[in-house]
């Protein structure tokens, strides 16, 4: 099954990439953008989706500073 893991910085953790994007967009004429956060996208085929949370905890994200979200059965 195709699965998708979204990893984003935890609330309260400084996210310079998000800030950089937020700064860059108006400069390009895109206004009305706020709360930009940049994270990681991992897409993979897994035989046993039940093991995804464990994979996220142990490898795909760093629980101390990141939170993850699993989206199953995507494209």
């Amino acid at each position: 099954m195709r699965a998708r893991v979204l990893v984003r910085p935890k609330a309260g953790i400084l996210d310079p990439q998000g800030q950089a994007v937020e700064r860059a967009l108006p400069a390009l004429g895109f206004d009305g953008v706020a709360n930009v956060h940049v994270g990681r996208l991992i897409e993979l085929d897994v035989e046993d989706p039940a093991r995804l949370p464990e994979m996220c905890e142990r490898l795909l994200s760093n629980p101390l500073v990141e939170e993850y979200e699993i989206v199953e059965g995507s494209s």
Partner: protein, 221 residues
């Protein structure tokens, strides 16, 4: 006394660490795929880009067989020094508190920085001249230390960037921390690149000298 320097695929400063360690003792390379630490007295996880730093720096390296042995070694009180990527690996492995995030500048930075030594008792800094700043280079892309709410006592902060020298936006100018037991130490600056005046500074030698002195005492005791 013998240092063991771990070599992962993608380690870059492994040879440099060996050369530096050899200025105060012996040094051997430890291969990432093997669990045998060859009875070394101290372990160095060197700088570089283990596994390309892909996903997150240190995220993949921490799972290599040698790291199991290193964890045991640390558990038994053995001295473990993590430099730059090695620091990242030790944090990912849970042997050190906190995490290392992308530099605020989002740029790689290679620069000589001035450091304040916060403890004269640690096995990793005890030989450092009292009250003298250390001049040691940093070179990294992800060196911004994140200090966890709990789990890091001030006494575990062994190195700070002097005012105006914080190259990455680290919390509290933290450049290096130890575990609670004090036998595992990680730092972003590269002491192995400051062991000879010809290279700009020899202040990094104090870190290696501290380890040597600590182990020498232990043998006597």
């Amino acid at each position: 006394m013998t240092f063991g320097v771990v070599r992962f695929p993608g380690s870059c400063d492994d040879v440099d660490a060996v050369l530096a360690a050899e200025r105060v003792g012996e040094a051997v390379m430890l291969w990432h795929g093997e669990r045998d630490l060859q009875g070394v007295d101290a372990v160095i996880i060197p700088g570089g880009f283990s596994y390309g730093d892909y996903l997150r720096p240190g995220a993949i390296a921490r799972f290599s067989p040698v790291m199991e042995a290193v964890s045991e070694f640390a558990g038994d009180g053995g001295l473990v020094l993590g430099i730059c990527n090695g620091f990242q690996v030790l944090c990912e492995a849970g042997l050190l508190p906190g995490a290392l995030l992308a530099n605020v500048s989002l740029r790689f930075v290679c620069r000589q920085v001035e450091l304040e030594v916060m403890s004269e008792y640690s096995p990793f800094t005890r030989a450092c001249p009292l009250g003298e700043p250390l001049s040691i280079p940093v070179k990294h892309m992800s060196g911004r230390y994140y200090r966890p709410e709990q789990g890091l006592a001030d006494t575990q902060i062994l190195l700070r960037y002097l005012p105006g020298h914080n190259p990455n936006g680290s919390d509290h100018d933290i450049a290096g921390v130890s575990n609670a037991a004090g036998n595992v130490f990680g730092l972003m600056p590269h002491p192995e690149h400051a062991v000879d005046p010809l290279m700009g500074s020899s202040d990094g030698l104090w870190i290696f000298e501290s380890i040597r002195a600590h182990l020498a005492d232990r043998v006597v005791a």
